[in-house]
Symmetry: C2
Subunit: 222 residues, 2 copies
């Protein structure tokens, strides 16, 4: 991946800005499990995922994690440079979920370009809006509709009834049962998949971590 | 309030941009209870609060509301112009919580300036980051720590023990009891106050809506 491929604003940068960015960007290989950014403790810079997968999450005082979103190839991680903006007052942790290849941009370099170029600032705006949308979706589904627990309870019930962890349940049927929409169920199942709880295939849903599923389902009776 | 007072980037605009903005901004008086923006249905433009108070919230399918944040004088409402950014994929409702005086900026005018000026784009970035932080705080406290329910249960218990709605409980004591920090309790109490559940004074905490408080507290046993 080259910078002019990644950044939609590349052509709008001045030659001097292009040169600065090129000079300060470094490539890093990180092992699965590496914590790239740890809450407010650091402001390590921006990451662009070339290969692999990063996960952003928050941690409660008791050590419980909630995944906020995943960063896949061609995604950029903004909050590892949260000191860039005064108004970011929350802390996420970013971990490599697979062995990953990433590009690193120092905070000051990116921040300088954002101040100079409306294109860079607007690009940053769109990335933040996109993460904001991810978090709002999660909040809506988890906090409000308890869709995570309710879906988990449904999967568990299906599995117990049919005495198998290979469920034939369709997304449509689950949606009908829970009074939701197919798209919502599909998105939540994908979230479960990235959490390692189920594995999705054309034929159906396989439960891969029944303990996690049971823990989620238990909440649905609260 | 004049535009040059409100916008920190005013001096960095060209005379033509200043004139455009001035020409298209209109003043509106809105009555308490007016819905200014209703989810994805509209993209009415940006609002600056001159006087009064707006509230942004999300609504569940069952009609339950969660307040995300308040907009007070000198605050700007961005999400009533959410069509401005492609990546904003969630819907908030904005209502006037008091009779309010607001300045209205058409979406296209602001969007045009954001594209041209890095200062406008970065200002917008900071506002979004600030709202994002509000929502993350809420999610952390409500979803994770159930601090809303736990604090409500504590207030209710205190009130029943002392047979009064005028509690002498200090924020420090509540924090100690709930294993939290004083700042967290103070912020949550202020949130309760804007929700009309309590009224705060130097002397203590007065319960003003015991039904809402009881409903919140009930959740703490889930």
């Amino acid at each position: 991946m080259t910078l002019d491929q990644f950044f939609p604003f590349w052509k709008e940068l001045t030659p001097a800005q292009q040169e600065t960015l090129t000079r300060f960007v470094t490539r890093r290989s990180v092992k699965k499990g590496t914590i790239l950014h740890n809450g407010s403790e650091d402001c390590v810079g921006l990451f662009i995922v070339e290969e692999g997968q990063l996960r952003a999450y928050i941690v409660s005082e008791e050590g419980k994690e909630i995944s906020l979103y995943r960063l896949l190839p061609w995604d950029m991680c903004l909050f590892s440079a949260s000191c860039m903006m005064n108004s970011i007052q929350f802390d996420v942790t970013v971990i490599a979920e697979q062995d990953s290849e990433i590009l690193h941009i120092p905070t000051a370099v990116y921040q300088g370009m954002m101040k100079e170029s409306a294109s860079v600032a607007n690009f940053t705006n769109e990335i933040m809006a996109s993460r904001f949308s991810d978090v709002m979706w999660l909040m809506d589904q988890i906090l409000y509709k308890r869709m995570d627990s309710r879906l988990a309870a449904l999967l568990l019930e299906e599995s117990q009834l049919s005495q198998t962890s290979q469920l034939k349940l369709t997304h449509e049927a689950a949606a009908r049962y829970l009074g939701s929409a197919r798209e919502v169920i599909t998105r939540m199942l994908k979230y479960f998949q990235t959490e390692g709880i189920v594995s999705l295939s054309r034929g159906g849903i396989a439960i891969t971590d029944s303990e996690k599923l049971a823990a989620l389902a238990k909440d649905s009776i609260r």
